[in-house]
């Protein structure tokens, strides 16, 4: 799975190659040191090499250990470069992938899950890479090398290794294959626990208001118990791998001592070699333990990696493909030609059905309709936030799919119902609309959106710092800033999706007046719940259940359309 992410290494790939190379060098030196030690014993002590030999080999050994240290440190450095480069590469790829997503792609993953994928999951992938290029290379190589050297020193005695190690390997393999699915299950329980926790936190007022403490406790206790059971199941076998390795090594120790001892007595081997063998047992033990320990890490990261890959594999369903890069939006005319739309991309589950509508450039259109009547859906098709399911939609006389997204969307500005401001100054936020807007232009847009006065009432004016999501301005102020931001785009089509719901009627009116005066031939589409917000539009569309119920002026609709009249009356009752 992690293979799919390899391209994310980019230019740090070289370090991902250098790391295991350094590890290999370090291991080779580490394996050679016990052989030198054996020589000191065999030749220095028994072979009459004397102090000078011991000294000579001793210095060599120390030098080798220091060299190994250098390689080890280098491998650490390279691994750091590789893994952090890897993480940064993933973040960058995933982030830009999300930028390429369409709305329906974004809808598919919740924001929370995308954030997790870009943060925690990346960290796990990074750890997995470190583990692989360091430990996963080191341990097997160490095993192979020590065994080879053991065979070279004494083939007969190495039979001990060759017998015990495969058995251990099989036991470990069985444990790991058995544990793996259980681990995955356990991670699932973890997610469940966290999800229920998050829900509880979000809804704590409801929980308390309905005194559902015991109910929630019960729910959580069950989730926690499930997790514990799953955890025990998953790790039950797994915790035995370490003692198994230990036991295997102990058996090796005794067998090596016995067979080696016999060989020595018969003159088939020297004492120093036996000591080398014994040192090797320790090294093998370490390697095997590392393998079983790194297993957990790799399993944990596997889920993360697959979550990341899921995002990378997601195909953006709206792209510039087939667009004419030169094509610019000519004017603000819009034409819906038998347009149907379905979020589920399912013919039997249409949100919009056969909408036909011609909007002339410069017209003001109001849209009225009940909750769930697909008002937002209708307008979101215009800047191609979603693609039509059936039929065609033309803006400026051309199908929206003929334009590059950038060209289309810079001509169609939309103020979303659920809008966001970003941390930064008011000025920064407004500049989202136009990067190069002058101060005068900012002020003009804010005046039109009735935002200038309240902005100036802040001590820092346009340089007032907004917290994340614009937490320090009120709902109505936020809406007006969002309108100003959209105005700065100087669009051919401006869509306000219930953008003045938190603004009082008088301000609402003055915004609309300002829009009318300044907009030139910008097409204006206003979705509103208040009739007063749309009453003065050139035409008003009444949407009902995904279909156009009626189109007309306020007066026409009032006299001919039941829905419109009902809405109107529901808002008029009791006015003095």
């Amino acid at each position: 799975m992690i293979k799919k992410l390899i391209p994310c290494l980019g230019k740090y790939k070289i370090y991902a190659v250098l790391t295991p190379l350094c590890v290999v060098m370090e291991v080779a030196l580490d394996v050679y040191i016990p052989i030198l030690m054996g020589r000191i014993i065999n030749i220095g002590i028994y072979g009459g090499g004397g102090i000078s030999y011991v000294f000579k080999v001793g210095v060599l050994m120390i030098l080798m250990a220091l060299l190994a240290m250098c390689f080890g440190a280098l491998s650490g450095r390279f691994a750091a470069l590789a893994s952090t480069g890897f993480a940064s590469g993933i973040r960058s790829k995933v982030f830009s992938k999300i930028q390429a997503f369409s709305f329906s792609n974004v809808d598919k993953f919740s924001p929370a899950s995308l954030i997790t994928r870009l943060t925690t999951d990346v960290t796990y992938a990074q750890m997995a890479l470190t583990t692989i290029i360091r430990i996963a290379v080191r341990a097997p190589f160490m095993l192979v090398l020590t065994t080879t050297m053991a065979i070279r020193i004494n083939a007969k005695l190495s039979l001990v290794f060759l017998t015990v190690m495969p058995i251990l390997a099989v036991v470990l393999a069985v444990i790991i294959t058995k544990a793996y699915p259980l681990f995955i299950k356990m991670l699932g329980k973890f997610d469940k626990l966290n999800a229920s926790l998050q829900e509880n936190l979000a809804a704590i007022r409801v929980v308390k208001a309905f005194v559902r403490r015991d109910y929630e406790n019960e729910k959580f206790t069950k989730a926690a118990t499930d997790l514990q059971i799953a955890q025990k199941k998953a790790e039950k076998l797994f915790v035995l791998s370490m003692p198994f390795v230990q036991l295997g090594m102990y058996i090796c120790m005794i067998a090596v001592s016995w067979f080696g001892g016999n060989l020595i007595i018969r003159g088939g081997m020297q004492t120093g070699d036996l000591m080398t063998f014994i040192s090797y047992i320790g090294q093998i033990l370490m390697s095997l333990m590392m393998i079983s320990m790194s297993f957990v890490m790799i399993v944990m990261s596997k889920a993360s990696v697959s979550r990341i890959v899921e995002v990378l594999d997601e195909l953006p369903d709206i792209s510039d493909e087939g667009a004419d890069p030169e094509l610019e939006v000519r004017d603000g005319s819009i034409s819906f030609d038998n347009v149907s739309f379905s979020y589920a991309k399912d013919k039997s589950n249409l949100t919009l059905e056969s909408v036909n509508l011609e909007i002339k450039s410069g017209e003001t259109i109001g849209i009225i309709g009940g909750t769930g009547s697909a008002k937002t859906t209708l307008v979101q098709l215009i800047p191609r936030l979603y693609d039509v399911f059936d039929g065609s939609l033309r803006v400026g006389g051309r199908d929206v799919r003929d334009y590059k997204l950038n060209n289309l969307r810079s001509a169609v500005a939309m103020v979303l119902q659920k809008n966001e401001l970003f941390s930064g100054t008011i000025r920064d936020n407004l500049r989202w609309g136009d990067e190069n807007a002058t101060y005068e232009e900012l002020i003009a847009a804010c005046k039109a959106a009735s935002a200038h006065n309240f902005i100036m009432s802040f001590p820092d004016g346009y340089d007032t710092w907004l917290g994340q999501g614009g937490v320090n301005v009120s709902g109505g102020q936020k809406q007006r800033l969002c309108i100003a931001r959209a105005l700065l785009r100087n669009p051919k089509i401006l869509i306000l999706d219930d953008s003045t719901s938190a603004v009082d009627t008088a301000t609402d009116l003055s915004i609309r007046q300002a829009l009318r005066e300044n907009r030139g031939d910008t097409t204006l589409i206003i979705i509103a719940q208040r009739i007063s917000s749309v009453a003065d539009a050139d035409r008003i569309i009444v949407l009902d259940n995904g279909k156009i119920n009626a189109v007309g002026t306020h007066e026409q609709l009032l006299s001919t359309n039941d829905i419109y009249r009902e809405v109107f009356e529901s808002q008029q009752k009791g006015v003095a």
């Binding site: 626990l193 309905f210 989202w432």
Partner: protein, 645 residues
Amino acid sequence: MAETRKQGPAMRPGPRGPGRGGPRHRSMEKPKDIKKTLGRLLAYMLDYKFQLVGVFVGIILSALAGVAGTYFLRPIINGLGEFIGQQSPDLSNLIRTLFIMGLIYLLGSTGSFVYNRLMLNISTGTMRKIRIDMFRHMQNLPIKYYDTHTHGELMSRFTNDTDTLREILSRGIPQLVTSVVSITGVFIMMLVISPILTLLVIIMLFIMLFAIKKIGGKSANFFIKQQRHLGEVNGFIEEMIVGQKVVKVFSREEKVGEEFEELNEKLRKSSSSAQTFAGILMPIMANLSYVNYALTASVGAAMAIGGYLDIGSIASFLQYTRSFSRPITEISHQFNTLLAALAGAERIFDMMDTPPEINEGSVTLVNAEVSDDGTISETERKTGSWAWKRIDSDGKPEYVRLRGEVRFENVTFAYEENKNVLNNISLYAKPGQKIALVGSTGAGKTTITNLINRFYDVQEGRILYDGIDVREIKKDDLRRSLAMVLQDTNLFTGTVRDNIRYGRLDATDEEVERAAKIANADFFITHLPQGYDTMLTGDGANLSQGQRQLLAIARAAIADPPVLILDEATSSIDTRTEALIESGMDKLMEGKTVFIIAHRLSTVRNANAIMVMENGEIIERGDHNSLIEQRGKYYQLYTGMFELD
């Protein structure tokens, strides 16, 4: 590398939290009182007293077996020396030694098997208990706690902090014990074998400690930097993902991508430094131990040639040098994790030490039976009428009929000291009356409802509920007598039916559907793929805001308490639908005392009394017509002459 993964996803502040969110920088937090924290952890583990004893015995056996087994190399190799060249050596000694060694190893392995297995029981069981205790405690915390902590913070108590805690429980503590036992054992054996070689080891030990300190110190600095940059990157990610749709509408993808690259590269740089120091520690320590090994071999051999040491001793000692440095390396490597884990444990315990909601009150809510002469008696039966039960000084119960009369007497309240949100508020809601609260954000409307159900307690003045001070009423019973529909509708994972039933757990299916009909939710529910049995995901993302609000209203309808609080309950429902549910709402509100907070004035028009609030005070009160006649603030608001936000 262990340190970086403690940075969980930064989460958004709660809907009404003061929003001091943002990603947290925490990896270098140090525990304040290690002893106390460890003590409390141990107290948790004491449930497993006997298993814990088993664990310790197992660890000690396993560690000592390693130490003792290695020592046997000495007699074995020395013994071999004597046999070399003999024709028929008497190997019974060797066999006996190997046999004993085998026994010791068997004991050691058994110990290891046992403690690993037991530790799994203990660690998972302890974690379960801690999680449940945390959760239970959390459920008892006052709303104030939730308002002053972000969800991200609380979630991280449950995820990051418990994760690291589990790490020390299942690995850290056993490793610590093993290390201490084997280091001590090895050290003693080394002294026994050769004090001179031991001196060498001690010198090397100092070099190692020096290296740890040097590298550790450097890495700490880089880690702080890394965490800061990680915080920035994660903060940016969070903001841009949440605002992703706006990014797209403004075609800002490229620009945002550039900004992200900049932050990302900064993080990569500092993180590669931090990771380098974490990554080179292990190999440096491991190879220092090889230097030690080489030194021991050379000096030992020199001593052997001089006749001061035998070969068997060298063999044992060499193994000891390896097993001496391993635990030190491991501890040094785990040290940061350990500290982080303890800091996490401390945060967990801090949370559990936060005082829970206090003052349960002594007045309880009981099912009441009202006899013809008006006397009230308590009954087990669900009569549909309720009474407050107060035990008077003689121990005799006294009953007051639950009617839903609410009276504020000169109530003053502040969330933060000296910042009064409510100033000397008095209001009176007769049973069955509809009271509307109108005013701009921050005027104190929601605060009033927060006080009625005692999410917060009044600081001055008092609130009387059927003549009883709410502070004397048991909180649970008080809240059971009220139903709230809030602006932010929270749904739970489960079916639509489950979500409505949340208002009254023992409601039948018919009652659920009846409640849905009252809220006018029945229509859209029956159009869902599986109707009432449609599964809703966590936040009900598959429903529109308006539909969610309808469900919340149905939830209140099924609870059917005498007092109803609607806090912007219909804000996301269009006026036509609102008009449609009006009849249902009328039915729902019939005979109930209702507090309505609404932004849309059409919603409050037919209230018995409308309170216009400003800066924590009620500036106008009256019914719609009288307020319009007054030509005051309400008139301005209503005719749109004044801005409300």
